[in-house]
């Protein structure tokens, strides 16, 4: 069945820099924003942009992720003729099996899946970012420019350019150079890791790249530079809006603090661009007489008797009397006893924090990630 555009969502990242948050789950499955997982943003964008043919490429620690995605029901991706397909290695062929060696290789290994839909265009996105984006606008831009490939870019502050892949373009956004983390940047247009390719063109490059033993089989390192070298028509597409890579514990925490702002460009309450996820049917939250809640996000099933400030509570969290939670993120099922003080803490799922515990990180410190194991060491 022919589809104009197939979406490949790369969700195989280990998320090493998220430390304890990714010891047992893949980065895209890390809880985010009080009720979501990181990948929900990309999947919801697919639904809202009417991209209904989606392959999700998983690899690392996929159990929770697979369970969360299922057949794609929360995102209306459980469809008759296309919808969501999980593409997980190892891919075994007669000569043996293999893992994904790089982002480009992940696409190469799934050519059969893509060819089944005989698409004109291939959209490649990743499941690691927090943003609302209409991929259909990107596709329209790609068609208008009659490009071979279009890369979505974001203007970043000049002092941060050394953290990103930077695209150097002419005035009409035609890309003539790609620089990975440049020390002396010529531009502040950073690649968001979101690409649209003409599938036939990309297919050739992937086939050629697969034969190169020295290649990293990576879009940024290999495929895009090769296309630029061959003078293909590569264009940048300026994305405007909130976009956050939550790749480190610090940025994960910052993104949560961003959500508490009243004027953030990304609104979780935007009824025209909902973010969809699972719902475990907890009852509404109960805010008790002794509670004080301000500058916070609180989800269903929470019972709050203490003080909350600049904090995010996922579902089914309990905060007992006399406890104060500041600038913290409490994952589902966390229990906080009496007279506890937490500041700049990320408490992972189902942790029990006993009475009178005090844990805080100072403003200039990285947030403290609590797990069942390190909690004992900290409190004893």
């Amino acid at each position: 069945m022919k589809k104009e555009c197939v979406t490949m969502l790369l969700a195989g990242g280990v998320g090493k820099r998220l430390g304890a948050l990714t010891t047992s789950v893949a980065k895209p499955a890390v809880p985010f924003g009080g009720r979501y997982r990181i990948i929900d943003f990309a999947l919801s964008n697919c639904l809202n942009s009417r991209m209904y043919t989606v392959g999700v490429l998983t690899q690392y620690s996929p159990l929770d992720l697979h369970q969360h995605i299922g057949v794609g029901k929360p995102w209306d991706l459980d469809r008759m003729n296309d919808g969501l397909t999980i593409l997980s290695p190892p891919f075994t062929v007669q000569t043996g099996g293999n893992w994904y060696l790089g982002t480009a290789d992940a696409i190469t290994k799934n050519m059969n899946f893509i060819d089944r839909y005989d698409p004109e265009y291939l959209l490649v996105i990743s499941g690691d970012h927090i943003y609302h984006m209409d991929y259909d606008k990107l596709l329209r831009h790609h068609k208008e420019k009659q490009a071979d490939a279009t890369i979505s870019v974001l203007e970043v502050p000049w002092k941060e350019t050394s953290r990103f892949g930077i695209l150097n373009t002419t005035d009409d956004l035609r890309i003539y150079e790609f620089e990975e983390k440049p020390a002396q940047p010529k531009s502040n247009l950073a690649s968001m890791g979101i690409y649209i390719f003409n599938w036939k063109v990309l297919r050739d490059y992937l086939e050629k790249d697969a034969l190169l033993s020295e290649s990293e089989h990576d879009f940024g390192q290999n495929i895009l530079p090769a296309m630029i070298a061959d003078n293909l028509k590569l264009y940048a597409y300026r994305f405007q809006g909130y976009w956050k890579d939550v790749g480190t514990i610090e940025s994960y925490w910052e993104a949560h603090m961003d959500l508490l702002k009243e004027d953030l460009e990304l609104s979780l309450n935007n009824t025209n661009w909902r973010t969809y996820s699972h719902d475990s049917n907890f009852p509404p939250q109960l805010i008790e007489e002794t509670a004080s809640v301000a500058h916070s996000l609180v989800n269903n099933g929470c019972v709050v008797s203490g003080t909350l400030n600049h904090s995010i509570l996922f579902e089914n969290v309990r905060i007992d009397k006399g406890s104060t939670i500041k600038q913290s993120i409490l994952h589902p099922g966390v229990r906080v006893g009496k007279n506890v003080y937490l500041e700049k803490v990320i408490a992972q799922e189902n942790i029990f924090i006993p009475d009178n515990t005090r844990i805080s990180a100072s403003m200039d410190q990285e947030p403290i990630v609590l797990s069942q194991e390190n909690l004992k060491a900290i409190t004893s």
Binding site: N269, P283, L286, I287, V293, V298, N300
Partner: protein
């Protein structure tokens, strides 16, 4: 294995919530911040391995159908079984049946096609979170014709006046069903009956021009039938008036009641709304309140229930009130002892006060 099919009979529950039931049936009235009354009995059935459930509904069922959809949020979109909403589409020219018997008569196929030998029947006014496995086992072990789910209330409230009260012998066999004002042993409206017996009683009632299956088929035949009772002692409430609706909503603000209803049994399933977590802003001051998702609160909320997507602006005060989906309370507005139906806007500086004994009810989509 013996199994049950479900029936939610709404024929006897019309318009009992005044303004709230102007445009919807009672079963579809929002309750406890994110649910509708019917969710409780429907979830209980779904969690009791009842996979086919029929709903008899006569009128104002549009919002009910919108809420239930295909039944997927209750896991009832099944190849085997499923959800059957049965409005009055009656085309049998020889039909002489009356009252709720018309539903049984005209939907006989639902019962005949179902593979279960037993039927669990319920209304939507009994609020509880339980599963019916033990009730069913009790029915089977006792070899009863009918088993009624009953409960006892320490304190009889006005809503219990309309209930059927039960007297039993030491073994739980029901000896009398009557509207005795002082008897605190209350029939919940939930009962199990053998399907073949149900259909026989239906025929019998119709032949005798009767109009109420439970009253004419079961209560009137109490002497001929073996009617057993099964006692439920978990948290429960009966909602059959604005007064009970208001009181039983606010009763859930007591921590014990909240935990008894929502955290002892199974989760109550409902239509998923996909709202963001509720956002508390700088000036928010919330206490003793039940708050659903999607709200944005910058005002004062005390002893109240906010449904999904309610906006409370800075300086607004809400006390002892129930505020339904997507209401917008502008700054400086004051609400006390008020029930706002969905999509109501209370403009800047408005004050609305009802009495504790008689809350002020505002119908859907009004702007005040």
């Amino acid at each position: 294995m013996d199994t049950m099919m479900g029936l939610i009979n709404l024929e006897h529950e019309h318009d009992f919530l005044n303004e709230l039931t102007y445009f919807r049936c009672g079963a579809a009235v929002p309750f406890a911040g994110r649910f509708r009354l019917i969710d409780f009995t429907l979830s209980n059935m779904a969690k009791s391995d009842i996979h086919e459930i029929a709903i008899f509904t006569r009128s104002k069922y549009r919002s009910l159908m919108d809420h239930l959809g295909s039944g997927s949020d209750w896991d009832l979109d099944r190849r085997h079984g499923g959800l059957f909403i049965l409005p009055p589409d009656w085309n049998d020219p020889t039909d002489i049946s009356k009252g709720d018997l018309r539903y049984f008569h005209n939907n006989r196929d639902y019962f005949l096609r179902g593979k279960s030998d037993y039927v669990l029947i319920s209304g939507s006014q009994f609020i509880s979170t339980t599963v019916y496995h033990e009730l069913f086992q009790h029915h089977l072990t006792k070899g009863a014709d009918v088993t009624l789910l009953t409960t006892t209330y320490d304190q009889l409230l006005p809503e219990h006046d309309a209930c059927v009260k039960v007297k039993t012998d030491a073994d739980g066999w029901v000896s009398s069903l009557a509207n005795e004002p002082k008897n605190s042993h209350v029939f919940t409206g939930v009962y199990v009956i053998r399907k073949s017996l149900l259909l026989d009683l239906v025929d019998d009632c119709i032949a005798n021009y009767k109009n109420h299956f439970f009253m004419d088929g079961i209560k009137a035949n109490l002497n001929q039938l073996n009617v057993q009772s099964y006692h439920y002692d978990g948290y429960s409430a009966i909602i059959n008036s604005i007064d009970s609706y208001y009181r039983q909503n606010l009763a859930l603000l007591e921590t014990d009641a909240y935990k008894d209803l929502f955290f002892k049994g199974e989760h109550v399933l409902t239509k998923i709304g996909n709202q963001a977590p509720t956002k508390y802003l700088e000036k928010s001051k919330v206490s003793k309140s039940l708050v659903a998702t999607g709200c944005v609160i910058d005002g004062e909320v005390d002893n109240s229930i906010l449904f999904r997507g309610v906006k409370v602006s800075e300086g607004a005060v809400i006390k002892n009130s129930i505020v339904m989906q997507r209401c917008n309370i502008e700054s400086g507005a004051v609400l006390e002892n008020v029930i706002l139906d969905k999509d109501v806007t209370i403009t800047r500086g408005q004050e609305l006060k009802g009495a504790k004994e008689q809350p002020f009810v505002v119908a859907k989509r009004r702007k005040i």
